[in-house]
């Protein structure tokens, strides 16, 4: 199969099979998790097939048209970067979905859980393989939505709802900034297709010198930062920890939060090499790395601690992507890519451990845990491997990429010159020190110290194989990548770095490379890290007291204020816009319609006198006469029921007219819809008073009559102009449909062919609206019940 079909299937299969999950669940019950893992495995196999192409240093792009007139296509781009992400997503996906079989209780709503996991996996794969920025944006927002559903999985818990809403607000609105950035980029380059820009040096130069360069860069970077929890946007990630732990491991450490990193890497060739790029990307990265690393000390929830460490680790990667500006080519990009891969392994592993601990000890609170190393020896070993790798201790993979981070920081410092020669490596070490301290804390808090008497179950043991194996597998990867880095470096990291830099990259990674300055920095990190670790409690205590004293120095304080303000403002706006009686809304709509149509007609009708041409058959006159009678009846009859029956009589007569005009489809639809509306009307009016009790004053009556006559005249003139040619005639589309219905769509019924084929897209939108209307009615009826 060609790469296009392989990748498309890998993206589409999770979506397709997610829909079948409820049906499969009926067959295999709680084993549904294995079905989900199988889907991830199939996607993995499909993607693996494309890897040889990428190792040879080639890239591949193919597309089919979607909205050709706007340059929007469904297009697939396969290069090192997308393959690296594709493999991370599917491999971690397989691990997480297998692990969930042990983690999720059988009493939970399992189909919903696995459905959203699969949908997320599909969206994430779609995102990384997109070549068209609009398609990228759609998948980007899909990952935000699926993440929202998964964070809020336990929908009855207010913390889950708060966390889910926060993540959606931050990441989805960040996505809108990104969309704006893409549109600016299009106005500069004239294309939504990112590969066209990447492969065209003159186009990139145009972007660099364009006056909107900064706007495009900042907008796109806001999108990336919000998704990857960088800068002030970090606030959503700690609250996202309300999700089930496998979800946190999958979305909020290994894949979704890396979407921002992916975006930065994807647009790297377009924007890098400029001062703005360095300041924005590396600047945000360094600040986030330090602040998040520091704030991690305060956390007592092990998942929150891991969340802050994720923010800080992502900031490392971000920082390194920014380094390329002053030091071309540098090892920054390759190091960042390697660290990205390593972070996916050790952080997912640590989250799985956190899940095991929470599952067995029934708490995630550091203060309630301790001394579990004898009871959970296997978990202890796995956790130590993960945490030491994060701390940058040899011989694990984290050590290698941390070394490279230091090395690139030194290079960067040299390139910038004094005083940055010292400052940048020092900041890097500071980040490493924090990481070291909280990594050690993660192990000691859970596995060392005194075992608490109360608060945790008396018998705690290692979990079942289903939960231990995925974590052990990741721990195995950590050691493997640490000892034999060339496996991944040659096959994944180098192709990725080459595709980010747009030139071939070679990287030599070794555990021992002599007494280099980066090794010195690592040693300094360890010493300072141990020092800081001994002060861990007092630093946390100082942070807590600072927070109590100045609660307003916090991004969360600003976020909560903004959201509450928005809520109150919208409440006021809603009560202003929707004052009450339905009549007011109808009035507003009608008056607006009159004004909108009357203005152009008043201008038109001055010199164009209609040549009225009524050729009516006698039976048509008869039908029209009855229609008038029915219409008058609907207006004047005193009881609701009579008025409604009169109105439906009018509808049936219209259907009759359609038959005379030889439109059987239309007539059939009209009669059926009329029947249904009548029944719904009748259902509704049995619940309200049967007569119009409201007294209408003469002045009110005059006003109503005036508006009715006005709207009737507008509709009358509109119809006249459409049928009698007041408005200058334009070429009718119907001939096209009549001629092409059979040859192009193979149908004799032109009306139907238009609905399902020529205008199929419209129809899809319309039926989606019907579904939304049904859901809206459901919400209206049920939310009213709740408030009472």
């Amino acid at each position: 199969m060609d790469p296009f079909r392989l990748v498309t299937l890998a993206v589409f299969l999770p979506f397709l099979l997610a829909a079948t999950v409820p049906a499969v669940e009926k067959l295999i019950k709680h084993r549904i998790g294995w079905f989900a893992s199988l889907v991830a495995f199939i996607s993995f196999l499909l993607i693996i097939n494309v890897v040889p192409l990428v190792i040879q240093g080639e890239s591949f792009k193919a597309s089919v048209e979607w909205l050709p007139s706007m340059g929007i296509e469904y297009s697939i781009y396969v290069d090192g970067l997308s393959i690296l992400f594709g493999i991370i997503i599917t491999v971690i996906g397989i691990i997480i979905m297998s692990y969930s079989n042990g983690y999720m209780s059988r009493k939970e709503d399992l189909p919903r859980y696995y459905q959203w996991l699969l949908l997320f996996m599909g969206s994430m794969l779609g995102l990384v393989f997109s070549a068209n920025t609009i398609m990228m944006f759609i998948f980007w927002e899909l990952t935000s939505i699926t993440s929202f559903m998964l964070i809020g999985y336990w929908r009855n818990r207010p913390e889950s709802v708060y966390g889910a809403t926060k993540s959606l607000l931050v990441t989805a609105s960040g996505g809108l900034f990104m969309l704006a950035g893409f549109i600016v980029l299009r106005s500069i380059t004239g294309t939504f297709d990112i590969t066209t820009i990447l492969q065209n040096d003159t186009l990139i130069k145009t972007v660099h010198s364009h006056e909107f360069f900064l706007a495009a860069l900042v907008l796109i970077f806001i999108g990336a930062a919000s998704k990857s929890a960088q800068g002030p946007f970090y606030i959503w990630l700690p609250n996202a920890m309300e999700a089930p732990t496998p979800v946190s491991a999958f979305l909020h450490s290994a894949t979704m939060v890396k979407a921002g990193i992916y975006l930065v890497a994807r647009v790297h060739p377009i924007f890098s090499g400029t001062e703005a790029w360095f300041i924005l990307v590396s600047g945000t990265g360094i600040i986030t790395m330090l602040v998040a690393g520091f704030l991690a000390f305060r956390q007592t929830d092990i998942k929150a601690l891991l969340a802050y460490s994720t923010i800080s680790q992502l900031a490392y990667i971000m920082t390194m992507y920014g380094y390329t500006t002053y030091h071309q080519p540098g090892i920054g990009v390759a190091a960042a890519t390697f660290h990205l891969l390593n972070h996916a392994t050790f952080k997912a592993c640590l989250f799985l451990v956190a899940g095991i601990v929470a599952h067995e000890a029934a708490t995630r609170d550091i203060t309630k845990l301790g001394g579990l190393r004898h009871e959970m020896p296997v978990t202890f070993i796995i956790a130590s491997i993960g945490a030491l790798s994060m701390a940058g201790v040899p011989p694990f993979n984290g050590f290698l990429s941390k070394e490279m981070f230091y090395e690139s920081s030194i290079e960067m410092g040299h390139a910038l010159g004094s005083p940055f020669t010292f400052i940048i490596p020092a900041l890097a070490v500071a980040g490493g020190v924090f990481t070291f301290a909280y990594s050690i804390k993660f192990i000691t808090a859970i596995f060392f110290g005194k075992r608490p008497e109360k608060g945790i179950p008396s018998h705690i043991h290692d979990p079942s194989v289903i939960m231990i194996l995925p974590a052990a597998f990741l721990a195995g990867l950590i050691i493997l990548f640490g000892l034999v880095p060339s496996i991944v470096v040659q096959n994944l990291v180098e192709p990725t770095a080459s595709s980010i830099m747009m030139e071939t990259q070679h990287l030599h990674v070794k555990m021992w490379h002599g007494f280099t300055s980066s090794l010195m920095m690592t040693l300094v990190t360890f010493m300072l890290g141990i020092l800081i670790y001994t002060k861990y409690e007092s630093i946390a205590e100082w942070q807590n007291s600072f927070n109590r004293k100045y609660p307003f120095i916090s991004v969360n304080y600003v976020y909560d204020g903004l959201v509450n303000n928005a809520r109150n403002t919208l409440k006021r706006f809603a009560s202003f816009m929707q004052p009450g009686p339905v009549k007011a809304y109808v009035l507003a709509l009608l008056v607006l319609t009159i004004i909108l149509f009357a203005i152009p007609f008043l201008k038109l009708s001055t010199d164009l006198a209609p040549t009225l041409n009524f050729n009516l058959e006698p039976y048509e006159v008869l039908v029209l006469f009855f229609m008038i009678v029915a219409a008058v009846g609907a207006a004047v009859l005193p009881k609701y029921l009579q008025a409604v029956i009169s109105l439906s009589a009018l509808g049936y007569l219209v259907g009759l007219l359609f038959i005379y005009l030889s439109a059987p489809d239309l007539a059939l639809t009209q009669v059926l819809v009329e029947t249904l509306t009548t029944i719904i009307f009748v259902l509704a009016i049995v619940k309200i008073p049967q007569t119009f009790k409201e007294h209408i004053s003469p002045s009110q009556f005059m006003k109503d009559a005036l508006i009715s006559v006005a709207i009737a005249s507008v509709v009358f003139i509109l119809l006249l102009s459409a049928t009698q040619g007041i408005v200058s005639p334009f070429e009718s589309l119907s001939y096209y449909f009549i001629e092409n219905a059979l040859p192009l769509a193979g149908g004799h019924n032109i009306v139907n062919v238009i609905i399902v084929d020529f205008r199929g897209y419209d129809t899809l939108g319309e039926i989606a609206v019907m579904c939304l209307a049904a859901l809206g009615v459901y919400n209206l009826i049920h939310s009213r019940g709740e408030s009472q």
Partner: protein, 138 residues
């Protein structure tokens, strides 16, 4: 409204009208009909039985989850729209195939018919769930 005559007529009509609605759906591509009309026809006869026998009576013996119907319909329609992409064709590209089956004769297979079936299910599901909710609402 619920006289013996209406009850009897409803009982006789129900299967016939449902069959007719399916035939409208299938005939749609070449003759008057289609997913929308077929769907509304189906809704009308179910609504008739609700009105004649009462919502509770019907639901005690026949109570599908209409929400699932429109979900399925929307999925089917979207699926046919996207299905062309893995084959390297444009979004919404339709396929026509003529099959020759012995005894029955020429049968036309159109991917658009699958789309129309999606429309059929959405119309039935959304209208009947609205209908049911409004009817049950106190």
């Amino acid at each position: 409204m619920t006289t013996v005559i209406t009850k009897m007529i409803t009982r006789i009509c129900l299967p016939l009208v449902i069959l007719f609605s399916i035939s409208l759906l299938l005939a749609g591509h070449n003759n008057p009909g289609g997913g929308f009309i077929g769907g509304v026809m189906f809704v009308a006869v179910i609504a008739l039985s609700y009105v004649v026998y009462g919502l509770e009576t019907i639901k005690s013996s026949f109570n599908p989850n209409w929400g699932k119907w429109f979900g399925f319909g929307l999925f089917l329609a979207a699926f046919t729209a996207f299905a062309a992409i893995p084959f390297g064709h444009n979004f919404f590209r339709s396929a026509v195939e003529f099959l020759h089956i012995p005894l029955i004769g020429e049968v036309e297979l159109v991917s658009a018919a699958l789309f129309d079936t999606g429309v059929y299910f959405v119309v039935i599901g959304s209208l009947l769930s609205i209908f049911e909710m409004v009817g049950e609402d106190k």
